[in-house]
């Protein structure tokens, strides 16, 4: 089914705004996405009608807020294929979700153990594991990428051994766009009994993802990258895995029994949600899930594939432009590139002048940029509200950038 983009765009008030007098083409969706009226309204409705703390007071407002907050867990569980709300903890974002797992495993890993990551990880799926490795003496090993920006599966299989205790990897690379064969990697990790952690920040918003189908032990993603508000994210974990996971934050609402000397933890998922949680965020996230489900994840995925294929075809025709990562069929909805001799910030600023919002830089994947031998890339990333016309506009604007910066290109 092709999406009715015009109708979808009507739902996003921000897409009507102009930038420097030009219509906004928002192509920075891998960083954060825009919010539909339905999400904004659900959140104002929460504040205007039933704002209250959850899981505490017995008054009417608190009952309504608690119901909405718990229902949001239920909705996310259903959306991801989890068994139930016991398997869905709300966190601040993907980063916090991964930190919870890495921190808890810090108490269990020991010298000689190995943690397998990939060279295409975001900092949020590297730095927490580095800390865990430092604390325990465990070793970090990296699955390498091929020249086309895919995982070298043979090499990955070869570094997974009996020593491997954790395999943590991104489902879709936020730089290369590569969709990794998650099922295959998880199966390989399981053969040696390793715990699997899936960074789904760039996949859950854009394609159907089912945790049971994948078989991962943990999965992390963020609300703000899927039409929801920032400040709320998700940690999925198999129930038995979450039972064994220690919380990162301690305090109110995450306890069951507290004495002056000791405390026991609340049941799942609340033991991971210390303190007053982000109630409005949860309501907004639930509205975002509703919205995405109404459109259909498969339809969104198809639409983005169409935009990506178009972008790769058009951008390949721009002088001096290099695209990073695999062919269109193997990627999610993003394209990162460089124009030879032109800094990404100059590319981004000149695109901005045309009303085109893209991201320039290392995209929080510094080791990957270094591996590719570049300071960064310019990245255009798509979502359900982007149009083929916006992709064409990007290609045309890049032609102009190349012309404007040509002298600089020759000098370098």
């Amino acid at each position: 089914m092709t999406l009715n983009i015009r109708k979808i765009r009507e739902d996003f008030p921000i897409l009507k705004r102009k930038v420097y007098g030009k219509p906004l083409a928002y192509l920075d969706n891998a960083a954060t996405t825009q919010k539909p009226r339905q999400v904004i309204q659900a959140m104002s409705d929460y504040y205007e009608n039933y704002n209250s703390n959850v899981h505490r007071a017995v008054h009417k407002l608190s009952q309504e807020a608690t119901q909405a907050y718990d229902d949001a867990h239920e909705k996310v569980a259903e959306f991801t294929g989890a068994e139930g709300i016991e398997e869905i903890a709300f966190t601040k974002n993907t980063t916090e979700s991964i930190n919870i797992v890495a921190n808890s495993l810090s108490g269990k890993l020991k010298k000689g153990d190995e943690i397998v990551l990939t060279q295409m990880e975001h900092h949020s799926n590297i730095v927490p594991w580095q800390q865990a490795a430092k604390r325990t003496g465990a070793k970090l090993r990296y699955a390498e990428i091929t020249g086309s920006g895919e995982l070298n599966m043979q090499q990955l299989q070869s570094i997974i051994s009996k020593k491997t205790k954790v395999v943590a990897f991104t489902h879709v690379s936020n730089v290369l766009g590569t969709v990794n064969p998650a099922k295959e990697i998880i199966a390989a990790a399981k053969e040696v009994g390793a715990i699997t952690v899936l960074d789904a920040a760039q996949s859950v918003p854009h394609m159907p993802v089912n945790v049971k189908g994948l078989g991962c032990d943990f999965m992390a993603f963020s609300s703000h990258k899927m039409l929801g508000p920032p400040g709320i994210g998700v940690l999925y974990g198999k129930e038995d895995m979450l039972e064994k996971t220690e919380p990162l934050l301690f305090g109110g609402d995450m306890i069951s029994e507290v004495s002056f000397q000791d405390a026991s933890w609340n049941e799942l998922p609340w033991k991971f949600e210390a303190g007053t949680p982000n109630m409005a965020g949860a309501v907004g996230l639930a509205a975002a899930v509703d919205y995405l489900q109404k459109i259909g994840m498969e339809n969104i995925h198809e639409h983005e594939k169409m935009l990506t294929a178009r972008a790769m075809k058009k951008l390949a025709q721009v002088d001096e432009l290099t695209i990073y990562g695999p062919e269109a069929a193997k990627r999610g909805g993003l394209v990162a590139f460089n124009i030879r001799g032109v800094h990404t910030h100059d590319v981004s600023a000149l695109l901005d002048a045309q009303g085109i919002a893209v991201r320039g830089g290392h995209h929080c994947a510094m080791p990957l940029a270094r591996l590719l031998g570049i300071a960064g890339t310019t990245r255009a990333s798509f979502y359900l509200y982007n149009t083929p016309e916006e992709v064409d506009k990007l290609a045309e604007a890049l032609e102009m950038v190349t012309k404007k910066m040509k002298i600089a290109t020759i000098r370098k």
């Binding site: 910030h345 600023a349 901005d352 320039g360 300071a375 600089a408």
Partner: protein, 136 residues
Amino acid sequence: MTMPDSIEELYREEVMDHYQNPRNFGKMANANASYHDYNPVCGDEVEVQLKIENSILKEAMFTGKGCAISQAAASMLTEEVKGKALKSAVAMTKDDMLKIIRINPGPVRIKCALLALRALQKGIVQYEATKIGMAK
């Protein structure tokens, strides 16, 4: 910090000229102070090299790579500070730098515009610290 007035202003001709034909670009053979600074967010780099005599900046050169704003700012700054007393070079502010490059880079790219000034000032501070150390 206000928003940039327009991109045309940000990439005005003089800025582009300094980016494409940087002044004082290269390594200085007889430099007695230098400082390499780096902006981790965008990867811009500037190394400032200085020839200091009697507390005066006799010569200033730079090498570096990065966006047009960071490199043009370094070029314009090295022209501006030649002959300046160390004391007044160290006292230069963000606004002084913006007056030199005559652009308003906005809140995100202000770091690009200030990279060379920060490198220059750190270079001078380091030079003076070493001098005091040697005097002891």
